[in-house]
Symmetry: C2
Subunit: 319 residues, 2 copies
């Protein structure tokens, strides 16, 4: 694939959920409609999109429903929950973008692929679960879930616990050939929702889901690499990546090289829960790309088209 118009767009949590909202389905569709207009601006620029998205609030609420109803109805395991939420969110994102493209007379269909992502059970992440999922638990609940369900929990504040699951590195997007074919055929695609459904390969029994969460920015970077695009965009809530964030000498960055990004990442400039994975994803993508002009752009969802043109956002390049 050498289509310069093709870009991978990784949507941040704010694309679907706003912190001040309950997060119900009506609100999600409203937010998704706003996001669709930003994405359609990129299509107006001549771009063809492969879209990825997180699922944090949605999977949290999904697991909460599971838990509240557990006395009456069997629960769904983590990876099956991720598959469900890919379906629900993919339907919403594809539909709102299809509608917006139709309004703008772009003859494009947006399809959702249920996407599984290979991980390695020997990944050290499985020995050190770090990704919090689900609601805050008190100590009694944490103990109960540890003993009854084998959960691992972590004390996030004194007396407050959350379940943590491993966040292994994505190795391969299992549906990549089909995604590539669909893109070549002219479809816009929603893929790798929530980072993808983590699957591992067992020599005897084949592929099976694992209770883990793949970072969606790292999965998006892998997808961009496998599609061999020129550009990946991470759309989020801030205009630009900053160093010394929140300090008197905070500096917003317009451009950085991979070497500079890695140095700041190693210095702890980018927090693990937010900007860190985007920077790591950008580094992974750029290091793997053979294209000298490859770039990763991190910018505000509300200014996607301007970020693509370099008017805002942070651009990361090989050199």
């Amino acid at each position: 694939m050498s289509d310069k118009r093709l870009i991978v767009v990784a949507l941040g949590g704010n694309a679907i959920s706003q912190p001040h909202q309950e997060g119900n389905v009506g609100e999600q569709f409203e937010n998704s409609n706003v996001t669709a207009r930003q994405l359609a601006d990129l299509v107006d620029q001549g771009h063809h999109l492969v879209i990825t998205h997180g699922n944090g609030p949605q999977i949290g609420n999904f697991l909460l429903r599971n838990e509240v109803a557990a006395g009456e109805i069997y629960p769904l395991p983590m990876e099956v929950a991720v598959a469900h939420v890919q379906g629900g969110m993919g339907f919403m994102i594809a539909q709102t973008l299809t509608n917006e493209l139709d309004r703008r007379k772009h003859d494009r269909v947006v399809n959702t692929f249920i996407t599984t992502v290979l991980v390695d059970l020997a990944d050290p992440a499985f020995l050190n679960p770090t990704k919090p999922v689900g609601r805050v638990l008190n100590q009694d609940e944490a103990v109960r879930y540890r003993y009854n369900d084998g959960w691992q929990t972590r004390e996030v504040e004194p007396g407050k616990f959350r379940r943590v699951v491993p966040s292994p590195n994505p190795i391969r997007i299992m549906e990549i050939d089909a995604i590539r074919r669909a893109v070549d055929g002219g479809d816009m695609i929603v893929a790798c929702g929530g980072g993808g459904i983590p699957v591992a390969r067992d020599p005897d029994n084949g592929l099976h889901g694992v209770a883990a969460v793949i970072d969606k920015d790292l999965a998006s970077a892998l997808l961009a690499t496998e599609l061999d695009v020129d550009t990946i965009m991470f759309l989020t809530a801030v205009d630009r990546v900053a160093v010394n964030f929140g300090k008197p000498d905070q500096r917003d960055i317009e451009h950085m090289t991979v070497a500079q990004a890695r140095q700041w990442l190693d210095e702890g400039q980018f927090p693990a829960g937010s900007m860190g994975p985007k920077i790591q994803g950008a580094i992974n993508f750029l290091e793997a790309s053979k294209k000298p002009g490859a770039s990763a752009i991190i910018g505000a969802l509300g200014k996607a088209a301007d970020a693509r043109k370099g008017k805002t956002g942070t651009r990361i390049t090989k050199a």
Copy 2:
């Protein structure tokens, strides 16, 4: 598409859930593994598969979780629930079939498309909801849901009620071009899960989901028509279609024409909840097909390959 190997296989409820089971995820995967072996037998015969499936027990349980947890967490509307279950069940069916094909050295990937199906809000089904969804309600609950949530309910036994939703005719599979392209590219596809997510077109606001359930056999027939296959198979729990079912003069049918099928359907030989939609789907497919040799096969899931060869099952043809 004129690939004679391509067949649409519509899986009945027994492919994933058995009546004597709780229906939990472990059981669903076990059943799905057994189903995968039957499907792989068809692949061994040289067939390429597009697979559809129902979602009755799964969507019922999904809605029950919604309902039990409604005091704590926003519920998901019907059509969004269908989208979720397409993701969850598609993941399972695609994974178990991918594994089985891998064991048999078929180099094929199975992908799941989130599938929306266009319906017409002027369809008379919207004036007469007939499809029961969710759990059995007592009279107080039925009254409460009618007044608070606008549900329509029907008394299924004295004092026992269920929510009913419209079951409109499927008009168009919105993702058909993408599905066709994926099939042409060599992928096996899971599509139209639960009959597809029903969507209607609003002149001002584009496509939007509607609270309805499309019959999965009718959706499968439409898919078979749009893919222009030679054969559709409806795999279910019985070996053959019967007339005078359960009576002393019950007769199992090896072959019938569309004209004969329609006559028996009109006579009420095939109940609405089970064999009726399969016969109607077969009629729809055969009447739309321009191929003189087109056939619909209704037979036992456990004998899929033999049914394809005509050793068992009921074959319906134009003449």
